[in-house]
Amino acid sequence: MRKKARGASRSQDHRSGGKRSFRWSEQWLRELRETGRRTLLLAALIGGCGLGLSGCTGSPGGNLQPAEPTQSVAVPSGGDTASAVRFDRELDGYQPHKRAYRFYFTYKVVHPWWDAVALGMEDAARQYEDMGVVIDYEYLAPGTVSAQDQIRRLEDAAGREFDVIGVDVADVAAVTPAINALIADGQRVMTFSSSDAAREDGCTRIAYVGNTHNYEDGAALTEALCEKLGFRGKVAILVGTEGAPCHEDRARGAQDVLARYPEMELVELDYDGDSVDKAYRLTQDFLERQPDLAGIVCCNMSNPVGAARAVVEAGRSDSVVIVGMDHDQEALRYLRSGVIYALGVQDCYSIGFDTIQVAVKIADGGRPEEDYPEKTEEPTTLIYQDGAAAMLEILYGEIL
C-alpha cells in the first residue's frame, strides 16, 4: 500500500494548495477510518489530540497533531507507483504574453536529485518552444552547499536582466535578506525545489514551487519506521545540509514523531552535507556506537545510500530498519532487496516542470493566488519493497 505524505495540515497550504490538498486529506481520512478504527483510541490517548491531519495548523516546527495517520497503515505496500513521478505532464494552456523569456535558477548543490528537476524544466521549455515561445534559462549550483555562494550567484544574476530569478534556498536565514534585497530592487524572485524561504520567515519572494510538506514527509517516514519496529527501539537520524529548510523540517518531523512514542529513543543525529560518503561514514559510526540500533531515519537523498551501504557492509541489514528520502537508483535497489524499508519519493520532474510554468506567469506580471498558487505543491509518495521494482523501471527503465 502506498501512502501520501501530505502537508495539507498547515494553514498556508489551504491558501496555496487549494482543492488538491484538501481532497487528498479527505482521502487520507477515509483510509484511516476504514483500516485503523481500533488504533484511533490509542492515538487519541497518546497524542491527547483529536484525529484529522487536515485540521493541523501552524508552523511545521512543533504543532503537528499527535494523531499521525501513518499509525493506521497496517501493511505497507508498494502498490501503484505509476503516479509517483509524472513524466507525461503538459502545459496548463496558459498563453504567454511574450515570445521569449530568460530565467535564472540556482539550487543547493550539484546532485542527481536536481537532475530530475532539470529534466522537468527541459521538457517544459521544449513544450513552450513547440508553441513558438523560447525559454532560455540557466540552472546552476555549486559543488558543495554554500549559502554565501548562493547569495553571490543571486546578486550576479540580478545584474543580467533575467525575467525571473529562482532559488532553491540553501539556508533560510542567510539567503532571505538577499532575496528581499533583490525584490526591493525590482527583481522578480521565486523559490523552488526542495526548500522555500516562506513569507512567515520574513521572505518577500513571489511564489514557491516544490515540496511544501517536508516536516510531514519526515514525520510520515518516521511513523512507518516506528510501526515497523513495533514502536520500540533506538533510532538514529541522518540529515543533509545543516540549515537547509527541507532537511531540517524533515528532521524535526522525525524527532516529533519519535518523541510521541515513549519506547522509541533518538540516539544519534548528524549532517552529511549531502555527501553519500559522509553518510556512509556517519552510519558506520552509529553502528559502532549503538550496537542495538534498530532504525535510521534519512532526511535527504544521500543519506539512505550511505546508510544502506554501511548497514549491508556491517551485516546488520536484518536488524536495522532504514527509511529515507528520494529516489536515488542505488537506494531504490536497496529498497528492492529489502535493505531499506521505505523511501519517500518526491516528484522532482513536476517540480521542474511547474517551476518553468510559474516563472513564465511571474514574468508576465501575474499575481500570486490570482494567476498561480503562491505555493505550488508537489507530492511525495512513500514506496516500499514491493513497489521498488516498478519505480526502478519507471525512473530508470531498469528491469531485472
Binding site: D88, A116, A118, M121, I394, G397
Partner: protein
C-alpha cells in the same frame, strides 16, 4: 421377344462400360495420391533443411547489416561533432548568447535532440540552457581521450544515446572547453531497424555486453528492459548451442548464433557486436515461424494435389457419361426434328394464308389499293394489275372502266405532276443497282371527286443482273390528310404571328411602363422641386417667377403625356368617334401654323408650309382630329429636329377621287435625326420609341404615332413614312373628304388677265404653287428663288415696259430678306403696284418696317387660291391695320357661384376669377349650390361654375334641378361645367344636362375667360 433381348443385352453392355470407367478412374486416382504424398513429404523435409540453412545465413547477414547501420549512424554523428567544432569561430565564443546561438544552429542542422559544449567546471551549454551537468552526465567526471558512447539514465523510461568527444584548444569566458556532446533518441535511431512483423515473429534489439537492454523495446518473450543473459540462463538450449558460449560471445563481443526453447517457444538468436561500442545487435526469430510456414506450404500442396486428383477423376467420369448421353439425345432429337419440320411447314402455309387475308382486310380498311407489274428480262412490262380496291378509289368499278394498262393510270395524272411522277417511276424501274425507291405524291383525276392527292410507294424484285421482275406497290388517298396539314400549317403560322405580336406588344408595354415611369417622374420632379424652391424663396419674386415658369412648362408637358395616354386608351376602347363638320382647310392650316409657331421660334427651326393644287378648300371632316394628326406629326418633327433644321408641311390635292370627294395628301417633313428601317416598321405601333427617353433625352409616350395612325385609320385614310437616319423624315397622310361646297372659283380675274406677276420665294414648291394659282386667275407669272434676282427681274421688266402688276415676295430669303427686296422693288416701280409679303411667321414685329418699305399686304403661308384671289381682287388698296390684340373682356363686378368640392381646386379657381375682377361665392356640393342660388334669388349670380363629381349631388343633377326651377331667371342662369372629366363624351353629357359650356381641368385660363366673356356678354 427379340426386342426385349436386344434391350437387355444393351443394358448389360452399358453397365459394364460404366463399371470399367469407374474402376479405371479409381486406379488412376490411387496412383496419383500415393505419388503425391511421397513427393510432398520429401519436399517438406528438404525444404525445411534448406530454409534452415538459408535462415542462418540470412539472420547473420541481417544482424551484420543492422550492426553496421548502427555503427555507421554513430560514426556519422561523431563526424557531426567534428564538423561542428571545425566551423566554430571565435565570434561564436564571444559571449554566452553567441555560443548558444551557434549550438542551436548545429542542433537544428543535424536534427539531434541536444548539442552541447561543456567547460572545465562541468557547465553544460546548449541552445537554450546553461546547466550544471557533472551529476547528470557521467562522462564529464572522466578524462576523455577519444569519442565515447553512453546511454543516459534518463527518467520516464526515455533512454537516450549521448555521443561525446574531448575538445582541445578551445576556451570560453576564460574556462577551458573540455567536452562536446550530442544526444540522440535511441528509439528513433532504431525505428528503421525493427523487423517486427504483424504477428511479432522476428525481433531486433540492442544489448550491452552484460545483457542489459539498451532500449525499452520487448524482445520476443523478454520484457522491455529485461537482461538477456539473465533471462536465457533459464532457456533450454538446442543441440549445437550452449549458454556458456553465448555469454562468452557477449562478454568478448563475438558474433554468433544460438537456438533454444524459451517460455515454450523454439527460437533462433543471432548476435553481432556493434563496432566502436560495447553493444550487441541481436536478431531473434521464432523457429516455429519457419516450421509452420513450411508445414503449411507442404500441407497446402498435398491438399491441393488430392483435390486435383479427385477433380480429375470426377471430370473423366463426367465426360464419359456426357458423351453417352449426348449420343442418345442426338438420335432422339433427329426424329423429333423431322416431325417438327413437317409441322412447321404446314403451319407456315396456314400463316401465309392468314396473313394474306389480313392484308386484304387491312387494305380495305385503310383504303389503300395494291398494284403490281411484271417485267421480262429486257425490262419490258409484260403485265400490269390494278386491284379492285385501287379502281374503286378512283371511282371505277371494273376492268372495263379501268383496264390493266399503265396508261389507265398515267393519263389521269395532273399535268404539273405527270413528268415528275413518271420520271420517278421509270427511274426506279431502270435502276439496276436497286438503290432507288419509288415513293411519290401526286394528284389524279378521279371519276367523281375531281383532283385528289394520292401517295404511292412500291418496291421491285430483280434478277441477278438487276433487271426488274416484278413491281408491287401501294396506293393511298392522302387528299384529306394533306388538306388538313396545309390548314394546320396556316393555323400554326397564324398562331406564331399572333404569339410574336403578343410578345412584341408585351415587351413594348413593359418598355412603355418603364418610360412612363421616367417621363412622368421627370416633370413631376420638376414641379415638386420648383414648388419647394418657390416656397423657400417666396420673398424673391424674380426667382419665384422663374420657378413658376418652369413649373408651368413641366405641368404642360405632364398634361400632354396624360392626354396622349388617355387618347390612346379611348381610341383602343372605341370611344373616339369621328365627327364630320364643314371645315375650311385654309383655316385649319393657319390654325396649325399659329399653334406651332411659338415652338418653331423657340427651337430655332426653319418652317415651311405650303399648298399644291388645292382647289377644294372646304370639306366635311373632323377638324379637331385632322388638327390632331397634323399637330402630332409636326410635334414629332420638331422634337426630333435639331436647332437650325427645317420642318415643313405641305397639303396637296390629288386628282384621283370619287365624285363628291376630294383626295388630299398632307406631307410633314423634317431634316431631323431620322429613324432606322427596322424602327420604321414599328413606328405606328403603340408604345414604340426608337430610343428610350432616358437615352435620347427626348421625352414622349411612344403613343403619338399610334394615335395618329388610329385616327387616320378611323378617317379612312392612310399614313406612311419615309426616313433616313441622320437626314430626316417625311410622313405622308392620304385622306379623302367629302366636298361640302364647290371648288374655289377658277375663273380669271378680268382686271388682272394677261398681266405679269412675280413670285419670289426660296422654296421652289411655294413658287410653283403660287405660280399655278396666278395662272388660274389669268395672270402671267414669273418666279424666282432669289431676292436679288427678283429685284433684277423687276428692273428688266420696267426697262422692257412690261412691268409686273403684282409681286408676291417671301419674307425670309437667304440672299436678301423680303423687306429689303420690297424696298428695292418699290424704288424701281413706284408706289402703286401691290407687293404682297408671303410668310409662314408672325409678321407683327416687322409690320411697321415692312409697310414703310412699301409692302401692300401680308399673306400668311400656306396661301390658298381663295386667299390669293381675295387679296388680288381687292382694289389693291392697302388694308387697314389689323387689330393686333383684342380688347380684354371686362368682367369686373360680375358675380359667380363656384360649386367645387376640392379645396385646392376651389382656391385655384377663386384666385383666377378674382384676378379677373369677378366676385365669387364658393360651395362644396351641387345641393348646396342649388340652395344658395335659390336663396340669392334672380340676378344675384351671373353664372355658375359647376364641378361634376361632388359628394352629395353631382353637377349633372344640380344643373337639371336648376333648369327645372320655376323661376325662369334662375332656371336659365348660364352654367359652365368645370371638371376633370375632359373627354368629348363628358362635354356632350354636360351639354345634354343643360349646361352652357365645358372647361376641362386643369384650367386653361384664356379659354375660361373667353367662354365667360361669351356667356356673360
Amino acid at each position: 421377344m427379340e426386342r426385349s433381348q436386344y434391350t437387355g443385352a444393351k443394358g448389360t453392355q452399358n453397365r459394364q462400360t460404366v463399371a470399367f470407367a469407374i474402376l479405371g478412374g479409381l486406379i488412376i486416382a490411387a496412383i496419383l495420391l500415393v505419388t503425391t504424398v511421397w513427393v510432398s513429404g520429401t519436399a517438406r523435409t528438404g525444404t525445411r533443411e534448406a530454409v534452415g540453412r538459408i535462415s542462418e545465413f540470412y539472420l547473420e547477414e541481417l544482424a551484420g547489416r543492422r550492426a553496421q547501420v548502427v555503427s555507421g549512424e554513430l560514426n556519422t554523428h561523431f563526424t557531426y561533432i567534428e564538423n561542428a567544432l571545425g566551423i566554430l569561430e571565435p565570434a561564436d565564443l564571444a559571449s554566452q548568447e553567441s555560443l548558444c546561438r551557434f549550438l542551436g544552429r548545429v542542433r537544428r542542422l543535424y536534427g539531434v535532440e541536444k548539442f552541447a559544449l561543456v567547460d572545465a567546471d562541468g557547465i553544460v551549454y546548449t541552445e537554450h540552457s546553461v546547466t550544471s551537468g557533472l551529476s547528470r552526465y557521467s562522462f564529464l567526471s572522466e578524462e576523455l581521450t577519444g569519442p565515447v558512447v553512453r546511454t543516459a539514465n534518463l527518467y520516464g523510461a526515455k533512454k537516450q544515446v549521448t555521443l561525446a568527444m574531448p575538445v582541445e584548444d578551445l576556451s570560453f569566458q576564460g574556462k577551458q572547453l573540455k567536452v562536446c556532446f550530442l544526444q540522440l533518441n535511441i528509439d528513433e535511431m532504431l525505428s528503421s531497424l525493427t523487423l517486427e512483423t504483424g504477428v511479432n515473429e522476428t525481433y531486433c534489439n540492442l544489448y550491452y555486453r552484460n545483457g542489459t537492454s539498451l532500449t525499452n523495446n520487448s524482445f520476443g518473450n523478454l520484457m522491455a528492459g529485461q537482461n538477456l543473459l539473465t533471462a536465457l540462463s533459464e532457456a533450454e538450449m538446442a543441440n549445437g548451442s550452449s549458454y556458456a558460449r553465448l555469454t562468452e560471445d557477449f562478454t568478448s563481443g563475438r558474433p554468433g548464433q544460438a537456438s533454444f526453447r524459451y517460455a515454450g517457444i523454439q527460437e533462433d538468436l543471432c548476435y553481432m557486436p556493434v563496432e566502436g561500442t560495447n553493444w550487441m545487435m541481436t536478431i531473434l526469430i521464432r523457429d516455429n515461424v519457419l516450421g509452420e510456414q513450411i508445414s503449411s506450404i507442404s500441407s497446402g500442396m498435398l491438399r491441393r494435389s488430392i483435390i486435383q486428383i479427385a477433380v480429375t477423376v470426377a471430370a473423366m467420369l463426367g465426360v464419359f457419361a456426357a458423351l453417352i448421353g449426348q449420343y442418345r439425345r442426338s438420335a432422339r432429337l433427329l426424329l423429333q426434328q423431322e416431325k417438327a419440320d413437317g409441322d412447321r411447314i404446314r403451319a407456315a402455309y396456314a400463316q401465309i394464308e392468314r396473313e394474306q387475308t389480313a392484308m386484304d382486310i387491312i387494305h380495305a380498311a385503310l383504303g389503300s389499293g395494291l398494284w403490281s407489274m411484271e417485267f421480262n428480262e429486257n425490262a419490258e412490262m409484260v403485265s400490269c394489275t390494278w386491284t379492285d380496291v385501287f379502281r374503286n378509289m378512283l371511282g371505277y368499278e371494273s376492268e372495263e372502266d379501268f383496264p390493266n394498262r399503265l396508261e389507265s393510270w398515267s393519263d389521269l395524272l395532273y399535268e404539273e405532276d405527270r413528268d415528275r411522277v413518271l420520271r420517278a417511276y421509270w427511274d426506279t424501274v431502270m435502276d439496276y443497282t436497286g438503290e432507288k425507291t419509288y415513293d411519290v405524291e401526286y394528284r389524279l383525276l378521279t371519276r367523281h371527286a375531281g383532283w385528289r392527292w394520292f401517295h404511292a410507294a412500291g418496291r421491285l424484285s430483280r434478277r441477278e443482273d438487276g433487271s426488274p421482275i416484278s413491281f408491287v406497290g401501294l396506293f393511298l388517298d392522302v387528299d384529306d390528310a394533306r388538306n388538313m396539314n396545309e390548314q394546320l400549317d396556316l393555323q400554326r403560322l397564324d398562331l406564331e404571328d399572333a404569339l410574336a405580336a403578343a410578345q412584341h406588344a408585351n415587351r413594348a408595354k413593359t418598355t412603355f411602363l418603364n418610360n412612363m415611369s421616367h417621363d412622368i417622374r421627370t416633370p413631376m420632379n420638376a414641379i415638386i422641386g420648383f414648388t419647394s424652391l418657390a416656397a423657400a424663396h417666396i420673398d424673391h419674386p424674380e426667382q419665384v417667377q422663374d420657378y413658376l415658369g418652369k413649373i408651368t412648362t413641366s405641368s404642360n408637358h405632364l398634361l400632354s403625356l396624360i392626354n396622349d395616354v388617355l387618347d390612346m386608351s379611348r381610341i383602343e376602347s372605341g370611344k373616339v368617334k369621328i365627327e364630320e363638320k364643314e371645315t375650311s382647310l385654309p383655316e385649319c392650316m393657319h390654325d396649325l401654323k399659329t399653334i406651332v409657331q411659338a415652338d418653331i421660334a423657340s427651337k430655332q427651326l426653319e418652317f415651311y408650309i405650303d399648298t399644291a393644287d388645292v382647289v377644294n378648300e372646304h370639306v366635311l371632316c373632323d377638324k379637331l382630329r385632322l388638327n390632331q394628326i397634323l399637330l402630332n406629326l409636326l410635334s414629332n418633327a420638331m422634337k426630333f429636329t435639331l436647332p437650325g433644321g427645317m420642318v415643313g408641311v405641305r397639303i396637296i390635292q390629288k386628282g384621283a377621287a370619287a365624285d363628291g370627294w376630294a383626295a388630299y395628301e398632307f406631307q410633314v417633313r423634317d431634316t431631323g435625326i431620322g429613324m432606322s428601317k427596322e424602327f420604321q416598321a414599328h413606328v405606328f405601333e403603340p408604345f414604340e420609341r426608337e430610343r428610350t427617353s432616358t437615352i435620347s433625352g427626348i421625352q414622349g409616350t411612344g403613343l403619338g404615332m399610334a394615335i395618329t395612325k388610329n385616327i387616320v385609320d378611323m378617317m379612312g385614310g392612310a399614313i406612311s413614312v419615309a426616313s433616313e437616319e441622320g437626314k430626316g423624315t417625311t410622313f405622308t397622310v392620304s385622306l379623302q373628304f367629302r366636298i361640302c361646297s364647290g371648288p374655289v372659283r377658277q375663273e380669271v380675274i378680268p382686271q388682272l388677265q394677261g398681266l405679269r406677276a412675280l413670285v419670289a420665294d426660296d422654296d421652289f414648291n411655294t413658287c410653283s404653287s403660287v405660280t399655278k394659282m396666278l395662272s388660274i386667275i389669268g395672270m402671267r407669272p414669273d418666279w424666282t428663288t432669289s431676292g436679288k434676282e427678283a429685284v433684277l427681274r423687276t428692273k428688266l421688266a420696267v426697262e422692257q415696259t412690261d412691268a409686273y402688276a403684282a409681286y408676291i415676295i417671301d419674307w425670309l430669303m437667304p440672299d436678301m430678306n423680303g423687306v429689303e427686296v420690297v424696298r428695292r422693288i418699290r424704288g424701281l416701280i413706284g408706289g402703286d403696284t401691290p407687293i404682297i409679303i408671303l410668310t409662314a411667321y408672325d409678321w407683327a414685329d416687322i409690320e411697321e418696317e415692312a409697310r414703310d418699305a412699301g409692302v401692300t399686304a401680308f399673306c400668311s403661308k400656306p396661301i390658298f387660291l381663295s386667299e390669293l384671289r381675295e387679296v388680288l381682287e381687292s382694289p389693291f388698296a392697302a388694308p387697314g391695320p389689323e387689330s393686333s390684340a383684342e380688347q380684354a373682356a371686362d368682367l369686373t363686378g360680375r358675380r359667380l357661384l363656384l360649386a367645387e368640392d376640392n379645396e385646392l381646386n376651389q382656391e385655384i379657381a377663386v384666385e383666377i376669377l378674382q384676378g379677373a375682377g369677378l366676385a365669387v361665392d364658393v360651395v362644396g356640393d351641387g345641393a348646396v349650390a342649388l340652395e344658395k342660388l335659390k336663396e340669392a334669388g334672380p340676378g344675384w349670380y351671373d353664372l355658375i361654375l359647376m364641378d361634376i363629381q361632388m359628394p352629395i349631388m353631382d353637377g349633372y343633377e344640380a344643373t337639371q334641378q336648376i333648369r327645372a326651377l320655376e323661376d325662369p331667371r334662375l332656371a336659365h342662369i348660364p352654367i359652365i361645367a368645370m371638371t376633370a372629366n375632359a373627354f368629348d363624351e363628358d362635354r356632350r353629357a354636360a351639354l345634354e344636362a343643360g349646361m352652357n359650356g365645358h372647361i376641362a381641368k386643369p384650367i386653361d385660363v384664356p379659354k375660361l375667360m373667353e367662354l365667360l366673356k361669351e356667356l356673360l356678354e
